[in-house]
Symmetry: C2
DNA sequence: GGCGTAAGTGTATAATGGACACATGAAGGA
DNA sequence: TCCTTCATGTGTCCATTATACACTTACGCC
């Protein structure tokens, strides 16, 4: 494998990373899109991303692009899939390694201030027409996220530090597009031992205050 | 995202595909390795693979490399992960998109004749020292294969056209490194409806002949 | 025809998943 | 202060699924 003697003699494709940044807001699962101001697809919405530099790993590139374009840093990033259709970029051969990341509504609102480029969250089932094959990439990522809900605690990235069980349940329901039984949901979630009651309760609401919970540790793990 | 005006002005990494070709033979899960006869890692064993051409997709590249180096064509190929550590190739920046494929023992024996390059199957837990980060890639692939056994019929690629339920069970046991209960295994497998009795039986053996089964269709599907 | 060998089969128990309804605690207004 | 409003919080029964476990059957061979 590899070549004989000199790898530089081969034509080389360009390599980019593109990031699906998920959040849940206003009862919808959303992803971040940025407005392109260059050809091709000028003025189209696209996933945040860009070229991989020669001295950085793919994970580093994804982290860098995400923080450059959004100001959000050190999120949990997971490699999704690599798309390499020769015609996916009309200019030249571009292979893109895609990642997904999750951010809580509250955290995003804070960190997004001061970003120059136009960037906006869109509900995943009301996406505008996207540049390149980004529509396909988005669908793939949403599907992956749905699957992962079933056997990991990946959802922790979408929630703030403390939250009620009802909040948590809503996030599941929004992503899975189903409604869940409250008692069964709580039983199952608590039986994993991954979240613990903080002891504090919601205050200032006109009904019984809910217990606030938090994740025991902030690492994504497989739960079964 | 992307660049301004001219993508060709950026340094570009080389991109390869590497393929983990699994088989089960002599009671062990094995992968195909080829002997390198170029630097770096001359005389080391490595995964079959090579550079992605400018006019082919990643899937096509994986298929091509696999058939060039082994003579086996049109196997089920699944993209695994993309490895892009800047130092993984000592020559220059090389990003590799990895795939896994499965071939049955019997099919391989037929098609492998006439291959020039030295190629050999090695048990996955007795691998020699491999070139580049191929040891890590192999581990990742084995793990993925194990996981997929649980919720897909991916194993069909490892078996010939017809097989006994005992054969099938052995393949599961070898890959998962556990022993399974015969009755429970048969119940579960048959309840998926994905395999059917062919009506024929093994002949010429000194004990009760086993029914031969085959997969109803040859597509990999999710079973739950 | 008796032996060796792997095939083939059922049941009882435990664990899991899903359906389902009512009392509780706080705020706010009468 | 008492009554209303509203989301919280909790337990049981049933169905399904997973697991443990042992003997009879069919064939070749000697």
């Amino acid at each position: 494998m590899k070549d004989k003697y000199d790898v530089t003699k081969y034509d080389r494709p360009s390599v980019t990373v593109d990031v699906l940044l998920f959040t849940v807001e206003a009862g919808e699962l959303k992803i971040l899109l940025v407005k392109r101001n260059e050809t091709p697809f000028e003025d189209s919405w696209a996933l945040p991303g860009g070229f991989v530099r020669m001295d950085e790993s793919l994970d580093e590139a994804a982290n860098r692009e995400l923080s450059e374009e959004t100001g959000v840093k050190n999120l949990y990033l997971e490699q999704l899939y690599t798309f390499g259709n020769p015609k996916r970029d009309p200019r030249t051969r571009v292979i893109t390694v895609t990642y997904m990341a999750l951010v809580s509504n509250t955290e995003w609102k804070f960190k997004s201030t001061g970003d120059a480029k136009e960037a906006k969250f869109f509900a995943v089932d009301k996406l505008p027409k996207l540049a390149f094959d980004h529509t396909e990439i988005s669908k793939y990522g949403v599907q992956r996220l749905r699957n992962k809900l079933g056997y990991t605690n990946i959802v922790l990235g979408l929630l703030p530090g403390s939250f009620t069980l009802t909040d948590l349940q809503k996030v599941y329901e929004i992503i899975l597009k189903t409604s869940l039984d409250k008692r069964n949901f709580r039983k199952k979630i608590l039986s994993t031992g991954l979240i613990v009651a903080s002891g504090k309760k919601l205050e200032g609401i006109a009904h019984r205050p809910a217990m606030l919970y938090c994740f025991k540790n902030k690492k994504v793990v497989i739960t079964d």
